[in-house]
């Protein structure tokens, strides 16, 4: 798994997007998008102000030591990119940036609508510089509409995108997932939009275009069937806690406490529906089936149908008692052997220690030669048979690739690069 090549980023000539160059001006809404495109082969250049990108100060930090190069957020979102500094507030900086744009296939930016012009990164200006470049603008609400100028962060996107309404409990109200999902969603959906726009150049005479991405809309797409439930039945699904809500009806809980944590067992662990017979047998084998072995219950549970409240209570009680005395991985293995779709509730540590991921050789070791250590990072989201995914190494230091990019790529003389540095352009 380890890679002996020390260059940062690691080369990736075999990716499906190899040969493309992408300029990344993005904040939290677009850095993962750019990273994934890089891991598919694109050369991703992170363009930062001389003081460093703002997100370099996002926690958590390696060993809790705050610093420009120690943000784990930065590491996770910018791994495998190159970094150049460029002051877009100065005319010389914008000129330099436009020279990069001239050789780029896509620019990913996240400035508030109407403000990209100030940094020379608006679609109209960029189209003049490079007609084949795709310009991806990722914003809170999109480029147009009454809310376009409202400030937002992840929790705001989760709220105005409707997802928080479904995520929570009756007693305590809506809740956000602690790993920011409005940011994750908009990054991933923007990546699809970018890839489609790159593909579209083939159908569009080689021309680039503007991709206008909305964080609110990306979350609106994550409402399960609540959108249609309102449209069709005029019912608002809402936060069912550890249960599930379908078509306005709250189902019983499906997350149960095990001896060593929690398990997720949908449909009361398969006690309702086609697998119910096998599940009742299991409970019966351990003497914990209670009344469920009767012909009445076997018949009643074999078909998915609404249960009365006292019936639900009985089944949930049986499930709770059954799970509480057993380890979650054992429960899941046995349930799956009986064709019931259970899974353990895993923490990050348990994900890293999971057998399935180990068997698929999922994790990658990433060398941080600068601090003399190697860390485990998430691995290939897909195995592509001809054009593999590749982790490209650690995140770049601030301006680490100024010489490579401005010298080798743009062909500036060392004296010119020195002058850019002296005049505080880079």
């Amino acid at each position: 798994m380890s890679d002996r090549d020390d260059s940062v980023p690691l080369p990736h000539p075999d990716g499906p997007l190899s040969g493309y160059r992408i300029l990344d001006l993005a904040d939290e809404k677009g850095q993962l998008c750019a990273r994934l495109l890089g891991e598919l082969g694109a050369d991703v250049i992170k363009v930062e102000p001389r003081t460093g990108d703002r997100t370099r100060s996002n926690g958590p930090f390696f060993r809790d030591e705050e610093g420009r190069e120690s943000s784990l957020y930065w590491w996770a979102m910018n791994a495998g990119k190159r970094s150049v500094t460029c002051e877009l507030r100065s005319e010389a900086g914008r000129d330099l940036f436009h020279r990069l744009v001239a050789g780029a296939d896509a620019v990913i930016e996240t400035s508030a609508p109407g403000t990209a012009k100030d940094s020379g990164a608006d679609p109209r200006t960029l189209a003049k510089v490079n007609r084949s470049a795709v310009v991806v603008s990722i914003t809170n609400y999109g480029q147009t509409g009454p809310a376009r100028n409202l400030p937002a962060t992840d929790i705001v996107g989760s709220a105005t995108g409707g997802h928080m309404y479904l995520n929570g409990t009756k007693e305590r109200g809506p809740v956000r997932t602690a790993a920011p999902q409005a940011y994750a969603q908009v990054n991933l959906q923007a990546a699809v939009g970018t890839a489609i726009a790159l593909y579209a150049r083939g159908a569009n005479g080689g021309l680039g275009q503007h991709v206008d991405v909305s964080m609110q809309e990306s979350m609106a797409n994550a409402m399960d069937n609540a959108q249609q439930t309102w449209d069709i039945l005029q019912i608002n699904n809402r936060g069912p806690g550890s249960g599930r809500m379908v078509s306005g009806r709250e189902g019983p809980r499906y997350i149960y406490e095990a001896a060593d944590g929690w398990v997720a067992a949908l449909g009361m662990g398969g006690l309702v529906g086609p697998s119910s017979g096998a599940m009742i047998d299991w409970l019966d084998e351990t003497g914990e089936a209670g009344p469920l072995t009767s012909p009445h219950w076997r018949e009643r549970l074999a078909v998915v149908q609404p249960l009365e409240e006292d019936e639900q209570k009985l089944l949930v009680g049986i499930m709770e008692r059954f799970c509480r005395t057993r380890r979650k991985d054992d429960l899941v293995r046995e349930a799956q052997a009986r064709n019931a779709g259970w899974a353990p509730v895993y923490s990050p540590r348990e994900i890293v220690e999971n057998d399935q991921l180990a068997a698929r050789d999922y994790w990658v070791q990433v060398r941080h030669e600068d601090i003399g250590e190697t860390f485990v990072y998430p691995g290939a989201p897909w195995k592509l048979s001809s054009t593999p995914w590749r982790q490209r190494g650690r995140a770049p230091h601030l301006g680490e690739h100024n010489e490579d990019v401005y010298g080798d790529l743009l062909g500036l003389e060392p004296g010119e690069v020195a002058k850019l540095r002296r005049t505080m352009v880079i």
């Binding site: 990716g15 957020y73 929790i155 019931a340």
Partner: protein, 410 residues
């Protein structure tokens, strides 16, 4: 669906044909991306083994029927629908004929299912050498969990989302939905479109083994590194954020919730102004973010009190007028009425033969020159079987009738 899109603008995937063998949430959503952007997507189903979502609500008029499910419909806009019984030899042969004239195959069966039918990638590439095929079960094609079954509700458990959702003093709760079903399709679609782009430039197809589990982990942010590099586990935080104060969802007079997030000192100053600069905000320990972070309980108490006297709209307006990141937690009903989403045309209204005009989700992005979006309501079960088999595959009337009578098209 081969006609040009809005305003006669070209669609990116015009001319591509997709055989969509997938079902339930993830696979159909991946194929929907292609259909919404101009590909001819042919959803292959069978009445002998009905797609689960056709049996899941909400149903129009509350009448459970396989052609009435809003759940199914939303994932299958811009597609044709045909039925083939793949358990029959003639059905298998028919599918191969369809794949031979297709560019893409999407599927999400339990690993091994297609191989048993003789319809796995190795077989299908024989009839279509430059095929791009993506398989997307929960846990991938190999490994001890490859055969594990389940839905997004339980995959979100394995991939950390339940662990990270809820309050620090409480149990893990669901995200309320089959969350990964609405996350991993984007991951899968990215690889598929990238592979298509590669094929466009080189002529080479390929096979994509996509594990939903492995994709979902990339949405956990730095939580994995916090464990592998720092040896510390990310935990449930309620609505707090380790780097913002105040940060939360607050209940207002009308029972609705407003969220407020102050990451910067500028946000905080705006927040102070929005609530009229009460004395508590001027206390020494409130002046800097690093000390405010320790006072979240007290801050939340003050905001709860402030919000209790205002409607969510009033609280939000005060924040908005002072530039504070804020928003109202919107219900599905409010989402449908939201002026911003309306302006964006996010919910496409499409007429369905039995369900009437219903709303469909649009992509979160707008392409300026080759715009996409849902163009056609979901297909009835087998709605296009005759058209595709006769039109696309060139079956004669007699051949079609024979297959029909023999039950191959069930």
């Amino acid at each position: 669906m081969t006609s040009n899109g809005r305003n006669g603008k070209p669609k990116p995937f015009e001319g591509l044909r997709v055989t969509d063998l997938s079902w339930v949430g993830v696979g159909p959503t991946v194929a929907k991306y292609l259909g919404d952007h101009g590909a001819e997507v042919i959803r292959v189903e069978s009445a002998t083994r009905m797609e689960g979502l056709r049996r899941a609500g909400p149903f129009t008029n509350n009448e459970p029927h396989y052609d009435n499910s809003g759940y199914y419909a939303n994932f299958n806009s811009s597609k044709l629908g045909i039925t083939i019984n793949l358990k029959t030899d003639k059905g298998k042969a028919l599918l191969k004929r369809l794949v031979a004239v297709s560019d893409v195959v999407t599927e999400s069966f339990t690993p091994g299912s297609l191989k048993k039918l003789g319809l796995d990638y190795e077989e299908l590439r024989k009839v279509r050498p430059d095929l791009v095929m993506i398989s997307m079960p929960l846990f991938g094609q190999t490994g001890p969990w490859a055969h594990y079954m389940g839905y997004g509700h339980v995959l979100q458990a394995a991939s950390g989302f339940n662990h990270l959702t809820g309050w620090p003093d409480g149990e893990p709760i669901g995200t309320g939905i089959a969350y990964t079903d609405f996350l991993v399709p984007h991951v899968g679609a990215l690889a598929l479109v990238a592979a298509l782009d590669y094929r466009r430039r080189t002529g080479q197809g390929q096979y994509i083994d996509f594990s939903q589990f492995e994709g979902a982990i990339h949405a956990l942010g730095p939580a994995i590194l916090e464990w592998t590099a720092n040896g510390r586990e990310a935990e449930r935080l309620g609505n707090r954020d380790p780097e913002a104060a105040p940060h939360g969802a607050y209940r207002c007079k009308d029972g609705r919730y407003v969220v407020i997030a102050c990451f910067t000192e500028q946000d905080w100053e705006g927040f102070r102004a929005a609530i009229g600069r009460p004395d508590w905000t001027d206390l020494e320990r409130m002046r800097r973010k690093w000390s405010r972070l320790d006072e979240q309980k007290e801050i939340d108490r003050h905001i709860d009190f402030w919000c209790r006297e205002r409607t969510a709209a009033q609280a939000f307006k005060a924040m908005r007028d002072h530039g504070v990141p804020s928003g109202i937690v919107k219900s599905p009903e409010e989402m449908h009425r939201d002026p911003q989403l309306r302006h964006r045309g996010h919910y496409a209204a499409l007429e369905h033969p039995t369900m009437g005009v219903r709303t469909y989700d649009s992509p979160a992005f707008r392409l300026s020159k080759t715009p996409g979006g849902p163009t056609k309501a979901a297909p009835l079960l087998g709605e296009d079987t005759e058209r595709v088999l006769k039109g696309t595959l060139g079956l004669s009337d007699d051949e079609f009738t024979e297959l029909l009578v023999e039950g191959v098209l069930e």
